[in-house]
């Protein structure tokens, strides 16, 4: 299991919260340099799956290996090689954009100059002295992404990075994600925007009720099911086309 293997190898993950089986036997693999999407309606188990894969929570069953190493128990050497953007922007209280990213950079042993450059990459240099709660939704998402990427990780996890953004901000962020992926990083994102997945992802996994229903390239899934868009694929698979 050296660095030549898959970026992510997930096998039989299960997680139960009380009566709810949030993740119910999830298995998938992501190749190096791939742009991978996890799709599903709200409550499908996307976020829990991502958290199990990242090593944020201990799975009841199953394993997740990232870059050849198990993500649970916590492995600081592995964490230094992955970047994470959580669903909520995790910022320190009352710090400016520059102070936020410099703090995160220091956690990874990255110099301040590199942090400032990253701020420029996401187009926030002119917002360097603005506090996180004064940034717009799109700016906060870009800062959050910059904090996830500041240490140049090989593997990046993004949980619904475009939720709540206006159309311009979404497109802006898409361009940024494509650049990062083009630079050779593996990206895994969750979303419930199907146009986004169709546009960005090499392959998608469609989830519902804690299970992966189908995995494939968006175009291949559309062809396979003989429908027009990924949205039709999604509705066909999750069986929600006739619901109110």
């Amino acid at each position: 299991m050296s660095d030549t293997g898959a970026a992510i190898a997930v096998e039989g993950l299960r997680k139960r919260y009380g009566d709810v089986q949030a993740v119910d036997g999830v298995t998938f693999e992501v190749g190096r340099g791939e742009f991978y999407g996890i799709l599903g309606p709200n409550g499908a188990g996307k976020t829990t799956t991502l958290e199990l894969v990242e090593g944020l929570r201990e799975p009841d069953e199953g394993t997740a290996r990232l870059l050849g190493r198990p993500s649970w128990p916590r492995d600081p050497a592995l964490l230094a090689r992955i970047g994470v953007q959580l669903q909520t922007s995790a910022f320190f209280d009352k710090l400016t954009a520059r102070e936020q990213i410099r703090t995160f950079a220091a956690l990874y042993g990255v110099p301040a100059a590199r942090a400032d450059a990253m701020l420029g990459t996401v187009g926030l240099t002119d917002k360097a002295h603005v506090r996180d709660d004064k940034l717009s939704g799109g700016q906060a998402q870009r800062l959050s992404l910059a904090c996830a990427l500041v240490h140049d990780p090989e593997l990046v996890f993004l949980d619904e990075p475009t939720t709540g953004l206006d159309p311009q901000a979404r497109r802006n962020l898409w361009d940024l994600l494509r650049e990062i992926n083009a630079a050779g990083r593996t990206i895994v994102l969750t979303t419930h925007y199907l146009d986004e997945a169709e546009l960005l992802c090499d392959r998608v996994a469609i989830m519902d009720a804690g299970r992966v229903l189908r995995v494939g390239a968006p175009a291949a899934l559309i062809r396979e099911l003989g429908v027009a868009t990924l949205e039709d694929v999604f509705l066909r698979l999750t069986g929600r086309e006739y619901r109110g």
Binding site: L86, F92, D93, K94, L107, Y108, A112
Partner: protein
């Protein structure tokens, strides 16, 4: 920059940019020190006021030296009319009225404040006795030599400064750790740090370091203010032992903050809960006034409060000239308290709000 320094910096900036936190932990206790210190300048009992009507030999003939001696305890106001003077005493504006009538001295006082009445009566009796002895032309047979034991007398600033400092440290340390825990859980910074290659010891160390820094800053500012001549706090030999004591106290109250933070779901709730815990504790621990006169059952309650021991030990080393023997048992007790409460807090710790 190392992760430790960077996290400490982030927390320090978060603290000094939070106006309500700065007010709560620094400005508010300092206001109390400035106010109480100024209000209680005199030694608890203020001077008695006696109105003298017309000529009164024993008072008028007193030597300047004796007058100066008495002026600490007695103010004599002279007036011509007895009626209004008696009204003043009845109304509480003066404590007694004295006049001469047919060669006899007359004194009328109000018994509204028995302690005050006793002081005035005793004082004037002694003036009359002294005058009587002097009138005989004989040297007095018994003489009382008096002197002041300055060290034993508690000036208000000597318990106010340590007590209010204890309250400030307790509020600051518990609020900051509760706030950090609640805020980081809510904003998912806790989760984010879990996914960064930084050890829990680094994160906890930075939090403890910043809280100790705050506690030492509070101590420095309090001592600087209390030792200005106006307030007149005098530090005794081992006053610097207050620093390790304050550090142990800060740790103890950080652990209380962890417990509050584990329970509270918002920063506001954490602040409220900290006040509910710390403010009554400060009252019962002698932060605002001495607890010697409290009823027995209240003293028993205060006997289990960590702030009481912190206040007493800081007062001992700061103003009573005591040393290690006063500081060590309290420091040890506070650390034990910290260990127990932190262990409980670790059991009820939550990563997420839901």
């Amino acid at each position: 920059m190392s992760a430790f320094i960077s996290l400490s910096r982030a927390m320090t900036l978060g603290l000094i940019r939070d106006r309500s936190a700065v007010f709560l932990t620094l400005v508010f206790p300092l206001m109390f020190l400035a106010l109480f210190g100024a209000l209680l300048q005199d030694d608890g009992v203020s001077r008695s006021t006696v109105i003298q009507v017309g000529e009164v030999g024993v008072l008028d003939d007193m030597s300047g030296e004796r007058l100066a001696e008495l002026s600490d305890a007695l103010t004599v106001r002279r007036t011509g009319a007895l009626g209004p003077a008696l009204e003043d005493v009845r109304g509480g504006d003066a404590d007694a009225v004295i006049w001469e009538e047919a060669g006899r001295l007359q004194l009328r006082y109000s018994a509204a404040d028995p302690a005050r009445a006793g002081t005035v009566v005793g004082l004037l009796e002694s003036i009359v006795q002294t005058a009587n002895v002097a009138a005989t032309g004989q040297p007095p047979e018994f003489e009382l030599t008096i002197g002041q034991v300055e060290d034993e007398s508690i000036k208000p600033i000597q318990y106010l400064a340590p007590g209010l400092l204890g309250w400030a440290v307790a509020t600051g340390a518990s609020f900051m750790s509760a706030f950090t825990l609640v805020n980081w859980r809510k904003k998912r910074v806790l989760r984010r740090l879990w996914l960064a290659p930084v050890s829990p010891a680094t994160v906890i160390g930075a939090r403890v370091g910043v809280s100790l820094g705050l506690a030492f800053a509070q101590t420095a500012i309090f001592l600087a203010v209390a030792t200005v001549p106006f307030y007149g706090l005098r530090l005794t030999g081992s006053w610097w032992l207050a620093l390790p004591l304050v550090a142990c106290g800060a740790l103890a109250f950080m652990s209380i903050g962890l417990l509050v933070g584990a329970w509270a779901t918002s920063e506001e709730a954490a602040n409220g809960a900290v006040q509910v815990v710390i403010l009554p504790m400060a009252f019962l621990s002698g932060s605002f006034f001495p607890t010697d006169d409290m009823p027995g059952w209240l003293r028993a309650v205060s006997g289990v409060l960590p702030l009481k021991y912190l206040n007493e030990a800081v007062q001992d080393v700061l103003t009573r000239g005591e040393g290690w023997e006063a500081a060590l048992p309290t420091a040890g007790g506070l650390l034990l308290f910290t260990a127990v409460v932190t262990a409980v807090a670790a059991r009820v710790f939550r990563w997420d709000d839901t």
